[in-house]
């Protein structure tokens, strides 16, 4: 679509701005031209348009002569000639010979004209050829414009979300599979005890040794005091803590079992 027409071909390095007007084709140009033609229809269109012939009233004799000359040059040059070119040559000669026959007066014009089918094909092909050029001229995504594609920032690794129901579901699965339900009845209280067991252990991790009373917070109510005591007793039963008192009324100390062992 540039304003300066690109050369049709280069011959001996010289740009050839236009197709040759006569039938003489510089030998080196022919190959280039053959590549440029999309087939016999394209070549015919070129010949017709070049002579500015009316496609609806093509003079078959000169057209056929020129076409055959091209085909002959291609053949003598040993260029690989698609079979379609030879088929078209036969069609052209057939049409030309029928044009020479007197027309029956009664037949409608369209059917009488031996060129009708060829003209129809040429017109349809030319229409598609122009459509192809128009499509090619349209802005194409990827070629003439680019889609915005902003980088999507993600948290390094999106962490799975876990809901309380998922925990219940997991436990349900355990129960189902092991059929533990008959043997393991765990009460809310027990859960609290176990939670406080963890808390006591956690505090002992920091301090190693705590005074018994330090573990109790009366402000949190009797229930918490009871649960904490139960947790301590359970920890002692499971040998996780040592509870010691040197003498009566002396302070009671709670320490991690392994800490006292070493």
């Amino acid at each position: 679509m540039s304003e300066i027409a690109a050369p049709v071909a280069r011959i001996y390095g010289e740009p050839l701005a236009e197709m040759p007007t006569d039938l003489y084709i510089p030998p080196d140009a022919l190959e280039v031209m053959l590549e440029a033609f999309q087939g016999p229809l394209d070549l015919l269109l070129y010949l017709i348009r070049k002579q500015n012939l009316d496609i609806l009233d093509v003079a078959m004799a000169p057209l056929t002569r020129q076409y055959l000359a091209y085909v002959e040059v291609m053949r003598t040059r040993n260029l690989e000639l698609a079979a379609e070119y030879l088929v078209m040559a036969a069609i052209l000669m057939e049409i030309k010979s029928r044009m020479l026959l007197p027309r029956p007066a009664m037949t409608p014009e369209d059917e009488a004209d031996p060129r009708a089918e060829l003209v129809r094909r040429l017109l349809e092909y030319e229409r598609m050829k122009l459509a192809a050029q128009q499509l090619d001229a349209m802005p194409q995504a990827g070629r003439d414009l680019m889609a915005a594609s902003v980088f999507i920032q993600r948290a390094a690794d999106r962490l799975p979300e876990v809901r309380v129901q998922d925990l219940a579901e997991a436990w349900r699965g355990l129960l189902y599979r092991a059929r533990l339900s008959a043997h393991h009845r765990i009460t809310r209280e027990e859960l609290s005890v176990r939670g406080y067991m963890s808390q006591v252990l956690r505090r002992l991790q920091e301090r190693r040794v705590l005074e018994f009373t330090e573990l109790f917070d009366p402000a949190r109510g009797v229930a918490v005091l009871v649960v904490t005591l139960l947790a301590l007793l359970e920890l002692a039963r499971e040998s996780l803590v040592d509870i010691t008192q040197s003498e009566s009324y002396a302070p009671i100390y709670v320490r991690l079992a392994h800490a006292s062992a070493h």
């Binding site: 236009e18 440029a36 598609m128 122009l130 499509l135 414009l145 902003v150």
Partner: protein
């Protein structure tokens, strides 16, 4: 529920990141369907308006909305590209035109129209580009595949539907009406000029 301005920011981010057209239905998912399609379209129109002075534009295409660079700025952006994507050969473009305007067609139909055989690689080029696909088979011997253009084809050419394709020209008329061009002064509109230029591909 998001404020319209906030919703627009979300829309904008989603479309800028998509890299391809996004349908209104898909965009509704952004908001868990809490924003109706009509409201969404209004927001999209507002967004398009907001972007009208930029080098990137929001366009509505066959499969949805896409942010894309504006054609006028391509000369600048081209400089950043390492290589220009190759143009398709005439054979490919003619095949594409026939499929676009005469769909659904078989390879045989295309060959009849072009007057030459159509290589498998031409069809494959268009298929792998996602511009054409097989939409059925003709119930004739060999059950040849019927090709049609895809939404991606329309998207990539900036179209919303096949109706928006350039109308086919009435060739015969234009020829008879035009005066004979001088051999050395062929008008630019003369279709024989550009296309005799050999193309790679």
């Amino acid at each position: 529920m998001l404020q319209p301005t906030e919703a627009k920011r979300v829309l904008e981010a989603a479309l800028l990141a998509a890299g391809e057209p996004v349908s209104v239905a898909a965009l509704q998912r952004l908001f868990d369907e809490e924003i109706g399609a009509d409201t969404l379209r209004r927001l999209l129109e507002e967004l398009r308006e907001e972007w009208s002075a930029r080098a990137v534009e929001l366009v509505s295409l066959a499969s949805g909305w896409r942010f894309q660079t504006r054609l006028d700025f391509q000369p600048f952006l081209e400089r950043l590209r390492q290589e220009r994507p190759p143009r398709y050969s005439r054979a490919v473009m003619e095949t594409l035109a026939i499929i676009a305007y005469r769909q659904p067609v078989t390879r045989g139909d295309i060959e009849d129209l072009r007057g030459v055989s159509v290589s498998a690689s031409i069809v494959q080029t268009l298929e792998s580009r996602g511009w054409i696909d097989v939409v059925g088979h003709r119930e004739t011997p060999g059950r040849p595949a019927l090709y049609a253009t895809t939404k991606t084809f329309l998207d990539d050419l900036g179209l919303r539907s096949l109706d928006e394709l350039p109308p086919l020209e009435e060739i015969a008329k234009t020829v008879t009406l035009e005066p004979a061009p001088e051999p050395q002064a062929v008008p630019a509109a003369d279709p024989q000029r550009d296309d005799l230029e050999p193309r790679a591909g």
